[in-house]
C-alpha cells in the first residue's frame, strides 16, 4: 500500500497527504525529506491505471448517504440482484466499507474467507453474472476488527479498484460507509479519470437523517459527482395485523420529497419498512426473490428501472456528443 511506506512511523499521515513530511510524527522518518519536498504528492499513477481497468466497465454507480443505518448496503445488494436478474448483464458489487463490511452477509457469502491468502483479490460469485468484493472476504474471523487509519483504508480501496480482476462489466456498484471522509474522497479520486455515471443517495424520512444527507449532497456537488437521485427508505410501516400505517421515522420536515424539491434532485422512490427485508439480509437472500409481491419489492423494481434508464440515457447523450 504505497500511501504508508513500510518504514513509516505509527501516525504517518500518508505520503499523498498535504501534511506529508510535516507532522510531528514525521520527525525521524527516513522518508521525511522526500515527503516534505512534495515529490510524493504528484498525481498518483494508480488513477490512470484504474481508468484503464475501468474501460471494460460500462456503468459505475456509487451508493452514498451521509447517515448510517439508512439501508445503503441493503439497497446496493438488491440493486445488484435486480440488475443481475437479466442474465445477459454482468454485474459487480464492491463494498468499500472497510470497518463495517456488511455485504458478504447480505449477499449470502459469509464464510467465503480464503484463509492464508489475504492478498487474493478474486471476486466471489453469487451468480455467474454477479460478482462481489469486500474486505470481509480477507478477514479470517467474524470478530476480526479492521482498526485502520485513513491512509491505510485508502490503500485498500486503491487495490480493490486497480488489482481486482473485474473483467467486462455492464454495472459496477460501489457500496460506501456513512460520512464524507477518506473512503469517499478516495473512491472519487481514484475513479476521477474513469467516468462515474452518478450516485444514488439513500436517506430515511426524518430530519436527523436528512441533516446528514444534505452534507453528502454538498460533497457530491463539491467533487462534481452527478446525483442520479434519492431513495427514501424505511418510509412508513404497515402493521401486518391491522394494516394501519405508522411513521416510525417521521418526516417532520417534509421527508426526502421536500429535500429533493429544495435541492433540485430526483426522488427515485420510497421503500416502506418491511421486517422481511431485514430477515432476508440476515439470511443472505434476495428480498426480491423471497417476497416478490410485496410493496417494498415493487418499490425497489421501480427505482432500479429509473436508475437503468438514467445510465442508458447518459450513454446516449455521450455518444451523440462524441
Amino acid at each position: 500500500m504505497a500511501d504508508i511506506p513500510s518504514d513509516a512511523p505509527q501516525h504517518c499521515p500518508g505520503t499523498a497527504s498535504e501534511q506529508a513530511g510535516k507532522t510531528s510524527a514525521c520527525q525521524g522518518c527516513p522518508n521525511q525529506n522526500l515527503c516534505s519536498s512534495g515529490a510524493t504528492k504528484a498525481p498518483d499513477p494508480a488513477i490512470e491505471e484504474i481508468a484503464e481497468k475501468m474501460l471494460t466497465v460500462k456503468h459505475k454507480i456509487l451508493v452514498l448517504s451521509g447517515k448510517g443505518g439508512v439501508g445503503k448496503s441493503t439497497f446496493s445488494a438488491h440493486l445488484a440482484h435486480a440488475l443481475a436478474s437479466d442474465a445477459t448483464k454482468e454485474v459487480a458489487l464492491l463494498d468499500v466499507d472497510i470497518c463495517g463490511p456488511s455485504i458478504p452477509r447480505i449477499m449470502g457469502l459469509e464464510g467465503e474467507q480464503v484463509a492464508g491468502l489475504s492478498l487474493c483479490l478474486s471476486p466471489r460469485y453469487v451468480e455467474d453474472n454477479l460478482a462481489v468484493m469486500s474486505i470481509g472476504f480477507l478477514l479470517s474471523s467474524p470478530d476480526d476488527a479492521v482498526i485502520w487509519r485513513g491512509p491505510k483504508k485508502n490503500g485498500m480501496i486503491k487495490q480493490f479498484l486497480r488489482d481486482v480482476d473485474w473483467g467486462e462489466l455492464d454495472y459496477l456498484i460501489v457500496d460506501t460507509p456513512p460520512g464524507t471522509s477518506d473512503e469517499h474522497l478516495s473512491i472519487v479520486q481514484y475513479l476521477s479519470s474513469a467516468r462515474i455515471d452518478g450516485a444514488v443517495i439513500i436517506t430515511t424520512p426524518q430530519e436527523v437523517s436528512l441533516q446528514d444527507v444534505r452534507k453528502e449532497i454538498r460533497f457530491c456537488q463539491k467533487v462534481q459527482l452527478p446525483i442520479i437521485g434519492v431513495v427514501e427508505n424505511m418510509s412508513g410501516f404497515v402493521c401486518p395485523k391491522c394494516k394501519n400505517t405508522s411513521q416510525i421515522f417521521p418526516p417532520t420536515t417534509g421527508g426526502a420529497e421536500r429535500m429533493c424539491e429544495e435541492m433540485n434532485l430526483t426522488l427515485l422512490g420510497r421503500v416502506p419498512l418491511d421486517p422481511r427485508i431485514g430477515k432476508s439480509c440476515d439470511e443472505g437472500k434476495s428480498f426480491l426473490t423471497e417476497v416478490p409481491d410485496s410493496p417494498a419489492a415493487a418499490a425497489y423494481h421501480s427505482i432500479v428501472q429509473s436508475i437503468q434508464a438514467y445510465c442508458l440515457s447518459h450513454v446516449t447523450r455521450e455518444e451523440s456528443a462524441g
Binding site: H11, P13, G14, S17, Q19, T23, G66, K67, G68, G69, V70, I98, C99, G100, S102, R105, P142, D143, D144, A145, V146, I147, W148, R149, G150, K153, P177, P178, G179, T180, S181, D182, H184, L185, Q206, E207, V208, Q211, D212, R214, K215, R218, F219, K222, F237, C239, K241, C242, N244, S246, Q247, I248, P250, T252, L273, P275, G278, K279, C281, D282
Partner: protein
Amino acid sequence: MEENNEGGNLAQVQHVVLILSGKGGVGKSTLTTELALALRHSGKKVGILDVDLCGPSIPRMLSVGKPEVHQCDLGWVPVYTDAQKSLALMSIGFLLEDPDEAVVWRGPKKTALIGQFVSDVAWGELDVLLVDTPPGTSDEHLAVLENLKKQHKVDGAILITTPQAVSTGDVRREITFCKKTGLRILGIVENMSGFVCPHCSECSNIFSKGGGEELAKLTGSVYLGSVPLDPLLTTSIEEGKDFIQTFPDSATFSAINSIAQTLLTSIQNP
C-alpha cells in the same frame, strides 16, 4: 470566571463513558442524548462530547440550535442546554458556519480536531461525560481514546446494537476494538427492539429479535437492556424535545432509565 484547572479540563469530570457501535444508524446519538437526560433527571451533572465530525446529530436532538461558541482562558466553553448548567454539550456542529456544510476531512485532520475537543473544552465539574462517536473502528475512535487516556481514566464503553445479525456482525468487531485497546465494555444495549403498533398493540420485530442478548452471551459482556422502537421517542428527538419530561410514564422511558441506573452503578463501583 477563573476555574481551578489543575490537571487539565477533565480534572473535575468524575466519569467518562464512550458510546460505540460498529454499525451506523443503531441509535448511538439518540441513546447518548436519552441517557444524558435520564442521568440529569436523577440529579447528575452531565456533559456530552459529540465526535461524529461528518454527522453531528446531538445539537438538533437537544434543541440547542446554532449557538456561538466562546473561548475562555481554559479553552472552549461548552454549550449549556439550561440555565442550571446541568447538561453541557460540545459538537463540531457548533463550529460550522453553514449547517449543510460537509466536513470532508481525511483521517489526520479529524484526529487533530478530536485531540483539541478532548483537551480544550472547559467542562468544569461533571458527574459523567458521555462521548458520542460515529460508527466504525477508525481515526475518530483511536483519536478519542488516545487523547482521553492521556488526560483521564476512561471508565469504559457502552455498545449499541439493533437485534439483527447485520448489526451484531459489526458490533462484534467493535468489541474486538475494545479488547485490543484495553477499553472496558460496560455493557450492550439493544435498540429498536420491537415495535408496538399504536393502533392494535401488535408487536412487530421489524429489525429481527434477540440479537443483542445473544451477542452479550457470545462475547461474555453484560446485557444492559433493550429499548423499543417508539415513534414518540423518534418524534421527540426530531423536535429536540426532552422525551423524559414529556413521557415519564412510558415503557420506553422506563427502559432507558433502567439502563442509565445500571450504568451509574457500574461506573461508581468498578
